[in-house]
């Protein structure tokens, strides 16, 4: 049984679509990336999973139990990090985190909280109101991880953190998954999703439009080819009409930078007609894949809006 299962989740805010027909399932120990630009419905999905808002349709099963809005379903086993973490400013971070950990019976998280604070280099004895944005985010990470949850729902966990602390947080996520926790990681930071997640889903205008392993998402996008021509040879004009799916990214006298879709055979056959010095195939990053995906999705927007079923690769 999946640790977290979301079935046809739908939420409307009046006439505005929050999310529609979102479905996915996460297995134990999996780190799942949830990608999408601002307003695409990531936070809405996470709040529905936590039962903080009532969906208009669909169901969520967390740790084997159906989530009912407002009933704190399995919340003692779930760690939640909201997109905007706001604690009581007048209280010390230690007290605020302690109060929240105590909900649902005694504060058993105290030792773990101390360890996490040490690792993230956060002084818990300072009032929350005096903490910088980055330090408040560290407190948010401690809040989500302190009770060693089996399911982590993280909304932009590294937002506002410096690169070193960001690495520590990503390590914490990996360690939690190694110990069997399931992680749903919502983020705009595609680098971090690529670094820790095995699979990811892409959300666009409230609809899930892609769900696949990270490597496949990257592969589906345009691929790159850089060709340096032998000394003195000029880069030839690319016959775009004969090479469908190919576009020129950069053209200099001895260099041609191409992007293509599908198999590289046709492009290589054409390039082989010229005196080539060397060839490179730059790796497409997840970020490039994501941007490319959105360009494509925007171009086919009407079709995407009528069909909310994502392409799914396991």
């Amino acid at each position: 049984m999946a640790t977290l299962e979301v079935r046809s989740l739908t939420k409307w805010y009046g006439p505005v679509c929050g999310i529609e027909g979102v479905s996915f399932a996460l297995d134990r120990g999996e780190i799942f990336g949830y990608l999408g630009p601002n307003g695409s419905g990531k936070t809405t999905t996470l709040r529905c999973i936590m039962g903080l808002i009532r969906p208009d349709g669909g169901q969520v099963f967390a740790l084997g139990e159906r989530v009912v809005a407002g009933r704190a379903t399995q919340h003692d086993r779930i760690g939640y990090l909201p997109g905007e973490f706001r604690l009581w400013p007048g209280f010390r971070a230690r007290r605020s985190l302690g109060v929240l950990a105590s909900l649902g019976g005694g504060d058993r998280a105290q030792p773990r909280r101390g360890q996490l604070a040490e690792r993230l280099e956060l002084n818990l004895d300072r009032p929350v109101g005096e903490l910088s944005k980055g330090n408040r985010q560290k407190a948010a990470v401690i809040y989500a991880f302190q009770h060693q949850p089996e399911l982590l729902i993280l909304d932009e966990p590294t937002s506002g953190l410096d690169p070193l602390v960001r690495q520590t947080v990503l390590d914490l996520i990996r360690e939690a998954a190694r110990e069997g926790a399931t992680v749903l990681l919502s983020s705009h930071d595609l680098g971090e999703v690529g670094a820790v997640c095995g699979r990811a889903a892409i959300l666009r205008a409230g609809r899930l439009v892609e769900m696949a392993p990270i490597s496949k998402i990257v592969q589906r996008s345009e691929r790159r080819l850089k060709v340096w021509f032998a000394d003195g040879a000029l880069a030839p004009q690319v016959p775009l009409g004969q090479l469908p799916g190919v576009r020129v990214i950069e053209q200099q006298p001895g260099l041609l930078h191409l992007a293509y879709q599908g198999a590289c055979e046709t492009v290589l056959r054409w390039v082989a007609q010229f005196p080539v010095d060397r060839i490179a195939t730059p790796q497409t990053s997840l970020e490039e894949a994501f941007i490319e995906y959105y360009k494509t999705a925007s171009a086919t927007a009407p079709a995407a809006q009528t069909d909310s079923t994502p392409k799914v690769d396991q």
């Binding site: 704190a72 909201p82 019976g105």
Partner: protein, 274 residues
Amino acid sequence: MMRHRVPFPFALLRFWGGRLLPMWAFIGLVIFLVQIAVCAIVHDNESVRTFLKFLDVLPPFIKTALGGEMLQAGNVPGLILIGYQHPLVLFLFLLFAVGAPTTLLTGEVQKGAMELILSRPATKTQVYVCASLLTMAGMFALVLVMFLGTVAATRLYDFGQPIPLDLFFRIAVNGGLVAGAAGAIALLAAGVLAGRNRAVGVTVAVLVLDYFAWIVAQWWPRLSFLKPATLFYYSSGAKLARGWPLENMGVLLLIILAASIIGGVVWQRRDLPL
């Protein structure tokens, strides 16, 4: 699968209780001191006459608000009651009645802490119950402090006649129900409305209108039909003098239950503006 039972969030009750304590203690202290100050004036006949002469030159509704015909030299219980109906005391009760539930419910939503509270093992209903318990307990405790102020004053001053403390106890308990009803109206507003300012504004408007309707209905016979629609009607001194006004107490209890339950149901069902 068996539904996981969520234990009651006593930690939240303690935490919120601690947050309300300074406001409650300040209001309680002022109410206590007002009772002693009123008794300090009314235990001396000369001071009472001066005070009543002063009231006679003011617009008549002020005397009505402070007790009306009960304010006579020699009617010591009636004069002590000024401390229970004084606008400052009523304002302080109103302050707690409105401040407590709106701080705990809409205030926490607005500050962002409610999202954190509800993402821990605490149901929305439990959170509402915590706010309700603290509001009601706080209001009743304030009424008890008011009564204790009278008890302390009877030990401090000689009134020349026995003071019927049992009457003041009945008045305090009944007053506790009136205060509880005000708190329940604030809870209803906090449970139903989005935004703390809106909840505070609506509650204050309802309670102030209610108070003035009561004053005007007493003062102007043509509007006396309004009396049963006001909360203060159910704290009638005449009925309390005869014994426990069970009918009035029943109406007040009904208002408390109805407002609290409706507020709780709406709070549970609506999406909070997190």
